[in-house]
């Protein structure tokens, strides 16, 4: 079983439906849900830097794959805000609007990280986060309205914060 199919299985196991924005519930949404999630991409074509997200939950799986690693999180609290100063997530708490995950969206959120080589140079390894570990991840939502985001920062349960290697400034 591939790592991705394990991730898909995990998503099914926790009973979530992955929404793809305007076409939620259609056949297109079903196809999207079955696709592997990692992507080497043009950032701007895929993610909307004006839509920020911060999610807290437990790790479902880490996909340590090129060209981008992914962290899948079973989200218990979801915070959103329209935009933030460039390159910063140090903003006042009240700027975030926080809520429980929308049942229609489901609680399984995917966060695209940097590439494993770059993550390794920043101190990550494939074992840095394990299934069940608590984490808070901030990032940028996908343009397609799906439960995917491009991660900026990851805060471990012990408060340690690491950059996620957003692709936003590397041009990919």
């Amino acid at each position: 079983m591939t790592r991705q199919s394990q991730a898909n299985r995990s998503r099914r196991r926790i009973g979530v439906a992955i929404k793809t924005g305007a076409v939620a519930g259609t056949a297109v949404a079903a196809v999207a849900a079955s696709l592997p999630l990692a992507a080497h991409h043009s950032f701007a074509a895929e993610f909307d830097s004006t839509k920020e997200i911060r999610a807290t939950g437990a790790v479902i799986e880490v996909e340590w794959l090129n060209p981008h690693a992914w962290i899948h999180l079973n989200v218990t609290e979801l915070c959103e805000r329209p935009a933030a100063p460039r390159g910063s997530d140090d903003v006042e708490e009240e700027e975030w609007a926080c809520r429980a995950p929308d049942p229609d969206e489901g609680s399984a959120w995917g966060f695209e990280m940097g590439s494993p080589n770059g993550l390794m140079r920043q101190g990550w390894s494939r074992n840095s986060l394990k299934p069940g570990d608590g984490a808070t991840i901030s990032g940028t939502r996908a343009r397609d309205g799906s439960t995917n985001s491009n991660a900026r920062n990851v805060t471990m349960a012990d408060g340690t914060r690491l950059f996620a290697g957003s692709s936003e400034n590397s041009g990919r």
Partner: protein, 293 residues
Amino acid sequence: MTVALSGCLIALGWSSGAWAQWTPVADPTSPRDAEGNVIMGAPTPRTADGTPDLAGLWMRTRSGPPPEEGPGGGVSLEPTQAPVPLDPDGPPIVAFFEAGQNMEGGLPYTPWAKELRDQRAELNARDNPDARCLPMGFLQFHQQPQPRMIIQNEKMILIEYEANYGVRHIYMDGRELPPQGEPQPWWYGYSIGYWDGDDLVVETNNLRGADEDSPYDAWLDVNGSPHSREATITERFRRPTFGHLQIDFTIDDPKAYTRPWTVRLDQRLLPDQELIEFICNENQQFNRRIQLN
């Protein structure tokens, strides 16, 4: 920059114990201080025949102007490198997203190149070859936040780019460039090199072009500044100190630019480090995802 620095410190201070998996191996030939740190300002290293030795692992660095503004937030993963002082008499410093950002009036596009560049930008650079794990234009390759390794001997110089497993072969055996259009145009073109004093001069032609090849060809920068099959590129590599590599990049392409133009980029040595495998196509899904959108 402050954010990036603090991030590095946080990463270095992280004590999970799970990450020390790529042990640095000290190069015994590098000049070092009493603490064992490589002396980046030491003199240019030279090969047995006296030519500068450009070999090493190199990472882009800032030279002079403040960091360019990307499209929004986000912090990339590259190691923080000491900036290089700006030479006010040198060519404009290149920028990653827009090669002509620091050039007065920007790049001298012909109407054909300007229209194509604008089309590419309007599509949010979705056809950037980097997004397809394909070879990039040289200025993108030189400025990728993933390092590149130069391997040098008398007959050939290789530049191995960690990004998208790019490899350029530069023939140093005295041969001449083939006529434009004679061999099949390649993503990396055909490159010859020779020494002009302490400068390595690399000339490249027979490149695939944006005019006759795919939408993914000839992206000099992230925003899609193109070149054509008529392009000839001249790069002058120099290593003023042990830890500093400087490249002056000139392109002559009458179909895409009304005049030849030159930009400069600076790199810092990453001592005692190595390339890390990056098999971009391992799980590349952008094509399918973007088509769904």
